[in-house]
């Protein structure tokens, strides 16, 4: 073949090939959706394989051995300080343990406090029969959702345990991606948990997960500044406004909460919707958000805080993570915030500009102030993937992680509020967290988001865009509510 010919046809061929590449590339995401999952999470599960032959013999005696340690309350000092205690005892078994231990993969959301990875590390050091391969999936709860949908949609066995936000429980149960755990979590055991959390793990009469930690919002405020001005935590929305105005300075915002166009943002509005006496859907899943004026009033209140009263920085519209708000508070840049209890741990970090004693927590304000304002149930559960090949072992690990002792340590060291009320009675807890009793009381009144497999779609397709447009003042609140309601009805029709 002559050189001339080669060169001429090579350019044409290049164009042709670029066309081919162009065609192939759009198909790639689809491929990733089916095959990609097998490559990444598949690997970590591998080390467990050699141990599998020994598994049936090993896991059975191991399970009861691990269980008492988990359930027999504060007496068990060893797991409380796992980094020190296991050293002498576990030195020899550890070697045997790594050879026979079953490794389970845990898909979790991002823990912005950084505590859970440490907890898992301690668990792995202390435990000889199970090892956890802890994998955080992206920055937001939605990332975790999408990753698990990818894996479960492909019926991939590479995930054993999955962390479940309240709305995921009905969604994944309906899709057949998690298994009911009624046998492992019988009624007498359920009674040891907050009823709200058990309710949140229930779908169509079955339990699909075990509550792992409790979460709800509180009004965190600067006690030192309040005391200096003789102010009390606000009980109504109007008091919130006047208090914020009284404390606001050019360097310090009066109030902050999350208002971005995501799940974390809309919850803040939903609480105001409830506060004004409205709801998204009724008991029979009829959309009622556009009935009455609660939705519009709640949205208008928040808009006024941002644009009219200017107590809430406009930047709140881009606070996509709870830690964005907490960092502001920790840095001394805001006098009050509405935020999840799950972020409280970082207030105890040495890098916090605000020290213990300078802050406190109060219940959320409401419209009239007679009762505390409604908060959204935001607890997290641990469920088991239907496609896991180690469901029994995974369930044992979940039972340990949700046990009294782990929940106690998690509260004491990480600030995560327990799903078991009994943990609040612990003297160490009461000493370290003076607000614990108040938090416990607020958990009794938390409300869930609509319990339906359609909620994640309703949230993403109907509520979030309308809320986002209203917050950006692209459309007025009444139009946002109407648009939201129409879309929600359309989604519920299927």
């Amino acid at each position: 073949m002559s050189d001339m010919l080669t060169r001429r046809s090579s350019r044409r061929a290049f164009v042709k090939r670029s066309l081919l590449v162009g065609l192939a590339v759009p198909a790639l995401p689809l491929l990733a959706a089916c095959g990609g999952s097998a490559t990444t999470p598949g690997k970590p599960a591998e080390p467990a394989k050699p141990a599998e032959p020994a598994k049936p013999a090993e896991s059975k005696p191991a399970a009861p051995a691990a269980q008492p340690a988990a359930t027999s309350a504060p007496a068990a000092a060893a797991p409380a300080k796992p980094t020190e205690a296991p050293k002498p005892a576990a030195a020899a078994p550890a070697q045997k343990g790594t050879a026979t231990a079953t490794t389970v993969v845990w898909f979790a959301g991002r823990d912005t406090t950084g505590y859970t990875p440490k907890q898992v590390e301690a668990f792995n050091k202390a435990n000889t029969s199970f090892q956890i391969d802890y994998q955080e999936q992206g920055a937001t709860t939605t990332d975790l959702h999408d990753k698990f949908v990818t894996v479960a949609g492909a019926k991939d066995s590479s995930v054993d345990i999955v962390s479940l936000d309240v709305p995921f429980v009905p969604e994944f149960a309906a899709a057949g991606w998690t298994i009911p755990v009624d046998d492992a979590f019988p009624k007498d055991e359920q009674a040891k948990f907050f009823s709200g959390t058990v309710h949140g793990a229930t779908y169509e009469g079955k339990i699909w997960a075990i509550p792992w930690f409790n979460n709800g919002p509180g009004l965190f405020y600067r006690k030192d500044l309040f005391d200096a001005k003789g102010l009390k935590p606000p009980k109504t929305y109007d008091e919130l406004l006047s208090t914020a105005l009284a404390l606001q300075t050019p360097e310090m915002a009066g109030f902050a909460m999350q208002l971005p166009q995501n799940e974390g943002g809309i919850i803040n509005w939903i609480e105001y919707l409830w506060g004004y006496g409205g709801d998204l859907v009724d008991d029979k899943l009829n959309v009622v958000v556009d009935q009455g004026t609660a939705g519009v009033d709640g949205m208008q209140k928040i808009l006024d805080f941002v644009y009219k009263d200017k107590i809430l920085p406009e930047a709140a519209l881009q606070f996509r993570l709870g830690s964005d708000v907490m960092d502001l508070f920790r840095g001394g840049k805001v006098s009050m915030i509405r935020l999840w209890f799950s972020t409280v741990g970082t207030l105890y970090n040495p890098d916090s500009a605000i020290k213990t004693g300078q802050w406190d927590v109060a219940p959320l304000p409401s419209k009239t102030g007679e009762k505390p304002g409604p908060g959204c149930l935001g607890d997290w559960n641990l469920g088991i993937s239907k496609f896991s090949t180690k469901q029994k072992e995974a369930l044992e690990v979940v039972k340990i992680l949700t046990g009294q002792e782990q929940q106690r340590t998690r509260f004491l060291d990480g600030g995560f509020l327990p799903a078991r009320p009994a943990v609040f009675d612990d003297p160490d807890i009461q000493k370290k967290y003076p607000y614990a009793k108040a938090a416990q009381a607020s958990f009794e009144i938390l409300k869930p988001r609509p319990v339906t497999p359609y909620w994640p779609q309703m949230s993403a397709d109907a509520v979030q865009p309308a809320f986002g447009q209203a917050m950006a003042r692209q459309i007025p609140p009444d139009q946002a509510i109407k648009q939201m309601a129409d879309k929600m009805r359309q989604i519920l029709k299927g």
């Binding site: 164009v15 162009g22 065609l23 995401p29 949609g153 309906a174 971005p260 309308a466 986002g468």
Partner: protein, 322 residues
């Protein structure tokens, strides 16, 4: 990608099979067989990563396929999903967003990329360093640069606000990423910043193929720099520009990671691109049938764009070469 030899023989094989009408010698047939053999891995790879998933997607697009309920029926609905697309407001919105961002960013990248390519094609001290540093934005992972731009656009700490306020152009900070009129342009700017180097790189490669004698000759003829650019540089560069535009347009149509990380489609759906809409249909709505339909629509769009570029823009180029 196959090796250079693989490509050459592979092409001769294809030419041998389809191209020549003349009788083929035994030697040519043997060449063709060897060529096919060498091209086989590439063909199999393309089958595996492109054709089979594409076929599966087209197949799925003919069903009402929702993963919402475990035992829900999955009826065959023929082209119903495609009829739905044609009356889907969200799809047209996403199409408009994609078209706007892709059109503006590719046009801006062509102009900027050309300027950069012409500049770094000249010889000056430190040229190597400049060439390498121009590439940095493109070398960064999109997610990383999207995060970076999120900080630049931040309402409280962002550099963009700081600069604009110092210049006295604005009085109070703009929350770039939640202002419907501003966000889409903020996103387009980030896209241009990220991919201009790619354009510049391709154009630079084209510029370097232009023999120096042509410039000498045009200088002797008394052509001005401007004339030289229009009459010598541009015509010879045309095939390169075509390929660069083709790559960039396809890439821009498929834009996903930047909007996903920077805005996630917001505020409202004002920055939701077609791929992001498709992704959300799959993973939030769990609607795999309709999602597949959207994916096929994107595939068709990309195919049409490719054909337009190659047929309409490609033809005169080949004519000019003869």
């Amino acid at each position: 990608m196959a090796t250079a030899t693989g490509r050459l023989t592979g092409r001769s094989a294809v030419a041998g099979l389809f191209g020549s009408r003349a009788r083929r010698s035994a030697q040519e047939r043997a060449d063709a067989r060897l060529g096919l053999l060498l091209a086989a891995p590439a063909i199999v790879t393309i089958l595996l990563i492109a054709v089979i998933p594409l076929g599966g997607t087209i197949w799925d697009s003919l069903f009402r396929l929702s993963l919402r309920f475990e035992n829900a029926p999955r009826p065959f609905v023929g082209l119903e999903n495609y009829r739905t697309v044609l009356s889907d407001d969200a799809w047209y919105n996403a199409l408009g967003v994609t078209g706007l961002v892709a059109g503006v960013s590719v046009a801006a990248e062509l102009v900027l990329g050309m300027i950069i390519a012409l500049l770094i094609n000249r010889s000056f001290r430190g040229r190597g360093i400049v060439r390498a540093s121009v590439l940095v934005p493109w070398a960064l992972t999109t997610v990383v640069s999207a995060k970076m731009w999120a900080w630049i656009y931040d309402g409280r700490y962002g550099v963009a606000n700081d600069l604009l306020m110092r210049l006295g152009l604005i009085e109070s900070p703009i929350i770039f990423l939640v202002r419907p009129d501003v966000t889409i342009w903020a996103m387009t700017a980030a896209e241009i910043w990220k991919t201009t180097p790619f354009m510049a790189l391709l154009l630079l490669a084209g510029l370097q193929l232009i023999p120096g004698e042509l410039y000498e000759a045009s200088a002797l003829d008394g052509a001005s720099r401007w004339q030289t650019f229009w009459r010598v540089t541009l015509p010879i560069l045309k095939p390169t520009i075509l390929v660069a535009l083709l790559f960039r347009t396809i890439d821009a149509v498929r834009m996903f990671d930047l909007p996903r990380v920077l805005t996630n489609g917001g505020p409202g759906k004002s920055t939701e691109t077609v791929v992001l809409y498709t992704y959300n249909t799959f993973f939030t709505s769990l609607n795999f049938g309709y999602g597949s339909t959207l994916a096929v629509m994107i595939f068709l769009i990309v195919m049409v764009i490719s054909f337009v570029y190659i047929k309409v823009l490609g033809a005169p180029t080949q004519g000019a070469r003869r």
